[in-house]
């Protein structure tokens, strides 16, 4: 069984991924509903791994739920909570149960989350995790021992095109490519001019890049993100556009902006696809895809 997501990347089509966040607790009803809602309208569905360092149902369990429902998961895997042995073991298990895509992340810092006294592990970093997956695909674990049955993953990573300063970020981006990243999903991008500049540079590496589209659900949220979230810059004209409509129409405006951005990215073939993150507004993802005319 190969990765359907990998096939989509290789097909040259404009690839769409989105994400679903597992719940805090065992009530999976809403989570499963979101999977049902999205699994057929995207090429793959990311399952977040304790995003923002908030403890939740695991991404591995979430990815299995997507597999069970016939969808194509991208299991997000951070290095914050597990040492190399636990990461390797989870990769073996994930593979054995049909998960074929992994997004390798370093992970947010522990103190930004809801278990502020927990130990941050970071035994590996995102790059070392990518390499570990390559090694496991060659039939060997990180201890140098042979695996009885290897894994096969389409492994990707993230990049932040709006990072300030950008140069150190680009060095790491290139190291991720050298480590075998097969795709990139970016942090949210809003400034198309800047993103196009980034893509002019990134194109030469030939690794598919899916632009991060984070739904702006209100002017307040847009302002908060640009002021507080590292690597996110929302141009003032977008904030003004949101401020210019009544509160109850802001979400629709945000959907329109997201749809418009995707249309522009696709029309000018700026990147290879998009990764839509609705952050708690998963119900709006089909509307975004519709607004983009996809």
């Amino acid at each position: 069984m190969v990765s359907r997501f990998k096939e989509a990347l290789d097909s040259g089509k404009f690839v769409i991924t989105s994400e679903v966040a597992p719940p805090k607790g065992t009530n999976l009803e809403k989570f499963l509903h979101h999977i049902d809602l999205l699994k057929d309208s995207v090429d793959a569905l990311n399952i977040t791994d304790h995003q923002s360092s908030v403890m939740r149902f695991p991404s591995l369990g979430g990815a299995l739920a997507v597999v069970e429902k016939g969808g194509e998961p991208i299991m997000q895997m951070t290095c914050r909570d597990r040492n190399r042995m636990a990461l390797e073991a989870d990769l073996l298990f994930a593979y054995s149960r049909g998960v074929r895509n992994v997004l390798c992340l370093t992970g947010d810092a522990v103190p930004v989350g809801d278990h502020k006294e927990a130990m941050g592990v970071f035994d590996l970093d995102s790059l070392q995790l990518l390499k570990a997956i390559r090694q496991m695909m060659d039939g060997q674990d990180l201890g140098g021992n042979n695996l009885d049955g290897a894994v096969e993953f389409c492994a990707g990573a993230i990049v932040t095109p709006e990072a300030q300063p950008i140069e150190p970020q680009l060095i790491k981006f290139e190291k991720k490519i050298e480590a075998g990243a097969e795709f990139f999903q970016t942090q949210a991008i809003y400034d198309l001019e800047n993103f196009t500049k980034f893509m002019d540079y990134a194109r030469k590496f030939k690794t598919p890049i899916l632009a991060g589209i984070v739904l702006l659900s209100s002017a307040r949220m847009a302002r908060y993100m640009t002021e507080n979230v590292p690597g996110i810059f929302v141009p003032q004209d977008l904030i003004d556009e949101l401020t210019g409509v009544p509160k109850e129409e802001m979400l629709a405006k945000g959907i329109e902006i997201a749809g418009r951005t995707i249309t522009a990215l696709k029309k000018d073939a700026i990147c290879d696809g998009v990764h839509i993150m609705a952050i708690g507004r998963e119900e709006a993802v089909p509307d975004i895809i519709a607004a983009a005319g996809l």
Binding site: P111, L127, L142, P165, Q169, E178, P230
Partner: protein, 214 residues
């Protein structure tokens, strides 16, 4: 290089001394003097706190360097006052507590927490410079230790939490990798940052760590 310490709260100290009424107080003339957590003045203040708690202070001393073997001499000099106490309250770092435990067989209760091994970068500003990982990378990172100075201890470049040269955990903290990038660039050695760093060996010296010099 100094042991950077912070005084425990009066409540914590009181809890640590529960059931121990007669106390001998020991400060240190080196690190805790410099950080004002266990020098002569703080020992005097502590004695006053102890009296307010209803404790009996049998005596006190400030040992020049509580972590070295002169501690034995200093304790012997004060033997009769220490012997008449139920416990020693240590205002030195944990290394001093360890040392004091070797002599006279009295319980030693720490009044300070040892936070990290640091350097005084500017007057009164102490920064951690080394976590003793046993695989020194400083030659490849322009003298800035990513294991120490990066919150996550990353060795292959910055994470996505870096923001205008600052760290996601605290806007006051510099992003180590921005510092490393800038300095390597100045030195014309950015190729070092492009090198892949393999996962670290966490058992360079097996814990508990010890080395015997022959």
């Amino acid at each position: 290089m100094k042991a950077i310490t912070r005084q425990k709260s009066v409540e914590e100290i009181q809890q640590g001394l529960e059931g121990l009424d007669r106390i001998f107080v020991v400060g240190c003339g080196t690190c805790t003097t410099m950080t004002k957590t266990g020098g002569i003045d703080q020992v005097e203040e502590m004695k006053a706190h102890l009296q307010e708690m209803g404790k009996r202070v049998t005596g006190s001393t400030v040992i020049p360097t509580a972590c070295d073997d002169m501690t034995e001499v200093a304790m012997k000099e004060n033997e009769q006052f220490i012997r008449s106490a139920d416990a020693i309250l240590s205002m030195s770092c944990a290394l001093g507590v360890h040392r004091m435990n070797l002599y006279l067989d009295k319980p030693v209760i720490p009044a300070v927490d040892t936070l990290f091994i640091g350097v005084e970068e500017t007057p009164g500003y102490f920064r951690e410079a080394c976590v003793q990982c046993g695989q020194c990378l400083l030659g490849e990172t322009a003298g800035i230790c990513p294991i120490t100075a990066c919150h996550k201890g990353l060795v292959n470049g910055p994470c996505g939490g870096t923001n205008n040269g600052k760290c996601e955990v605290d806007k006051e903290k510099d992003c180590a990798w921005t510092l490393i990038y800038n300095r390597l660039k100045e030195q014309g050695r950015l190729d070092l940052m492009r090198q892949y760093q393999a996962p670290r060996n966490h058992h360079i010296v097996l814990k508990p760590r010890a080395v015997k010099i022959t």
